[in-house]
Point group: C2
Chain length 575, copies 2
């Protein structure tokens, strides 16, 4: 591709709304264009990188035995009403009425549509398992789209769906696609981690779900990771235990302690000169299951934080929220002095599992300016549950105690789920099993944010000058600049370009009328892995061209006759 006839413009200015490097660099390098809020158009170089990701995905999905289809982007409301998600999907689903007054939506995901295709096509266990996938446009009406391709409203997604007669088959295909995902992200040149994820309140315990997180400081997710044991989980889901703690043991009775104006854990523990884990944090929540509301009193070690998703999953409730002041009052609690001992409230009490129930703690006394000391849960609190409710932290131990965990930030680029028979049941989809009985197939679903993969790659691979593409995603492998004046050298520069084309090299030829400084800046910003430079001045000295590796900055000089061979070598060996 000759830049003199190309469609490309770079920019010095960073757009005001671009907060993270990938968004800034993709805009500055002329890879994407903002068509509207959360609506991006992909320009020639940007689209080439996206298509490279699509091709890697296609090859690995095909290798895993999945079949590619293409569902309509617009789906009829009827299908979503069959599954009950027309109302349940929330505001991210953009609903439309067509000219005939029928309900439609822009697909945010396609479980219903694919199940509709499946139920027409497959009638027998003999045709199972089967996995279908597509690479297609999705739309989610984010109220505050941001970060460019990272959280746009319209985006490209690979979504796959598998169908099974039994859990063993689902597990087998799930494992196969897990491997395919590892292959995809590895080929894409990404440092990533497959982590256990939260399947939502309604999922069965034995339904697996994993996220594939690209490690990057700007990631929106937090990942708990243990290098020693390999344990990795989204912080929303991560189960760890505290490193050993010096709990306070005593048999003394509960004592009242005057704590005037000491309301926070920090204030109380400083005042009493106790470590925070020898106090209890008391939180009041309201949960709804159907129409039934329940008040909850949650106890955590004083320096721990509640993980609301764990609480929601434990309760299997429809809604959960922290109680507001008036609700706290109404229950007979005193804000700042809440505690589980001598309770007037009928709140259901749940202790976090990291609390030693036989140790003694400081906790609120439900009276203004008063705490209890020597409060031993097992002795002093009636009727409570225990559950894992705390948010995992850096320095925790894995549940088996074998390793210490760290926290990393991650960008979720893939998510795989075992869905069970939720959608096949809802859509009345059955097949005959090998006993001739009808059954609702189990499903798995498997997503990759295709456009987000490209943004994540830029997030992970850049420096202060610009992007550094992994070879596998680079829009072209080689950037080739000619900085010549004489007719003779111009001709030679063009001959070398033609030789590279003839050898099948993906090369951008910078034949624009511009100086070396301008060209090199553009080259570093665009970030193709290999740079080839025909500089007339140096060529006159040694008859050679320069090859630079964008990532390492290494530079070598190569004679024209060796260029094609050397470039092909470097393409094969550079990551």
């Amino acid at each position: 591709m000759r830049l003199s006839t190309g469609f490309w413009q770079t920019y010095k200015e960073v757009p005001a709304d671009a907060e993270i490097p990938s968004h800034q660099l993709m805009m500055r390098a002329g890879l994407i264009h903002k068509t509207g809020s959360g609506l991006y158009s992909y320009l020639p170089f940007g689209y080439k990188a996206i298509r490279k990701v699509e091709q890697i995905i296609r090859e690995e999905m095909d290798r895993a035995g999945a079949h590619e289809i293409h569902m309509s982007v617009v789906t009829p409301g009827e299908l979503w009403k069959e599954s009950g998600r027309w109302d349940a999907m929330g505001e991210q689903m953009l609903k439309i009425k067509d000219k005939g007054g029928r309900d439609l939506c822009l697909s945010p995901t396609n479980e219903e549509a694919v199940t509709d295709i499946f139920r027409k096509t497959i009638k027998s266990y003999k045709n199972l398992p089967v996995t279908l996938y597509q690479i297609n446009t999705k739309f989610r009406d984010e109220l505050r789209p941001r970060f460019g391709l990272m959280r746009g409203r319209e985006f490209t997604m690979k979504d796959a769906y598998s169908f099974h007669v039994d859990k063993a088959s689902l597990d087998e295909v799930y494992a196969r696609l897990f491997k395919a995902y590892e292959a995809i992200f590895t080929r894409a040149g990404l440092e990533f981690s497959a982590v256990e994820a939260d399947a939502g309140a309604m999922a069965d315990k034995d339904q697996k779900t994993h996220e594939f997180q690209v490690i990057a400081d700007t990631g929106e997710d937090e990942v708990i990771y243990c290098a020693k044991t390999g344990y990795a989980a989204n912080i929303e889901k991560a189960q760890t235990k505290r490193a050993p703690l010096d709990f306070f043991k005593t048999e003394n009775v509960v004592e009242e302690i005057s704590t005037p104006d000491k309301q926070t854990i920090e204030e109380v523990c400083n005042f009493l000169e106790k470590p925070q884990h020898q106090s209890l944090k008391s939180l009041v929540y309201k949960s709804m299951i159907g129409d039934e509301e329940e008040t909850l009193l949650i106890l955590l070690l004083g320096d721990d934080t509640l993980n609301e998703l764990k609480l929601e999953a434990h309760l299997k409730c429809d809604h959960l929220k922290a109680a507001v002041d008036s609700e706290i009052d109404h229950e007979g609690f005193v804000k700042g002095y809440i505690g589980p001992h001598k309770l007037s409230s009928k709140a259901r009490i749940i202790f976090d599992s990291q609390i030693d129930l036989e140790a003694a703690y400081v906790a609120g006394a439900n009276k203004i300016d008063l705490h209890f000391g020597n409060m031993i849960p097992k002795r002093d609190v009636e009727n409570f549950d225990v559950a894992d409710l705390r948010t995992a932290c850096k320095g925790d131990l894995t549940l088996d105690g074998m390793g210490t965990v760290e926290v990393k930030r991650g960008i979720e680029v893939g998510h795989i789920f075992q869905l069970g028979d939720k959608y096949t049941k809802a859509l009345g989809t059955t097949v005959l099993d090998n006993n001739g009985k009808t059954m609702s197939p189990l499903m798995g679903c498997y997503g990759i944010g295709v456009t987000r993969v490209v943004a994540a790659a830029v997030e992970q691979h850049h420096d202060e000058k610009g992007i550094i593409w992994p070879m596998s995603l680079a829009p072209f492998h080689v950037y080739y600049a000619e900085i010549t004046k004489s007719e003779e050298n111009k001709k030679l520069a063009n001959d070398i370009y033609q030789q590279l084309l003839d050898a099948g090299v993906e090369v951008v030829f910078d034949d624009r009328k511009a100086g070396p400084g301008f060209k090199f800046k553009d080259a570093d910003l665009l970030g193709l892995p290999i740079q080839l430079i025909f500089g007339e001045r140096d060529f006159k000295k040694d008859g050679m061209l320069e090859i630079r590796i964008r990532r390492s900055g290494e530079s070598i000089r190569v004679a024209p006759v060796d260029i094609v061979t050397k470039i092909k070598e470097l393409i094969a060996s550079t990551k």
Copy 2:
């Protein structure tokens, strides 16, 4: 691909809404699935054919120097308001309000969005001409979607847009893309015709536009075609002349003829024993330009038909409609007896250019039961224009008189336009020309209905048994069935499959547990160009397999050792 683990089902029943062969066959062959009204999902074999078309288009567009981009499917209303098309596009544009109350639409086309990208990127004539294209999802909210992929609401389109400093550059790129289109449809194995098309009322006379029509009996368009001169045009636009006619010449004065109850041309001419072309057909129309309404009296030879699009283009009006009875009365005309002589109405009179103005005609006398005879336009009618307003017919002559035209039916698969500066002006898009002055670039736009190409190919290539894919669009090149029982032959059958895969042959292996009749029916319906059959009974006789050509029905027997070579030969030589 092994059918035993595939996702494929054929059907005997023709869906009730499938009226044309391509729709029927694509449903029956399991290529597409109806997800909703005008919303189709593409199943594995169907999607493979679509991707083949996409690849051909991509290669030829790249060869023509166009750059591939990908615009958002959802575009913001603001862009359409800038061009004035938010209101003008009509009901086919599906408009949406997002959660934030902003106007969006599903792109029916992308002139505005591409001009927005262009205006940000290109500032100088030095970077022109440039052509951008995309292959993407489009949506048009047809009230009555029909014919499967032929007229769906959601479809895949290749749309390209070129930008130029002058008409010469536009003409050059237009010609280059015209050639690219010929290459695309030729490679796709289609019998097609590039025809002059109607550019709409507002287009300048020198703005070219052509349609690419695939010839098929079920086509929705009529194409005028002259085998001798090569003239080809959509009937909406076609300009031809009548074959020589025996006009009636006389110098006699106008006479009144009593024609009681004779209102139609046919009735009057039968009654007077005159050929219909010796009478005039008088039509009353109303046109609007801005707020101004005008009444028109249109005269055609008695056996000709008005082409409303020609009339609209001639008037350059905003709206045009046939007058209703009350309007005809109000103007002082008498329905069934309208004519241009002795007119009380102030209607603007336009004669079709095929009328010999010096010949004598029968025409209505604007009185009940009365016609005029010997009415000579030049002598007896005041103040009239002449324009080409008639619909071309089979048997007409080309304008140069060199050939006779026929009418064929066509499926429009491509349409290319010269747009002028309409969109660049509306969106305030300028570049500096080579004198340093700002100018609004000229644009061309170039569409191909990608999914419609596949339907058109099926329309043109099928027989009573099913589809007959052109090699270039076939989902796979070879259908290979094994009908064996012995372990030994099963193994050999599998070995041959592996040999074909290793040789890079696109082969579907029908290893399903099913009888030969079942498999052959499926094979003919699916229509892959080459069929390879391992029938155990025949193999025992001569040690050979059968190769059948789907299109010709030819059959040969080939020894296992020769199969790969023979199959590769046939793939290269079969169309």
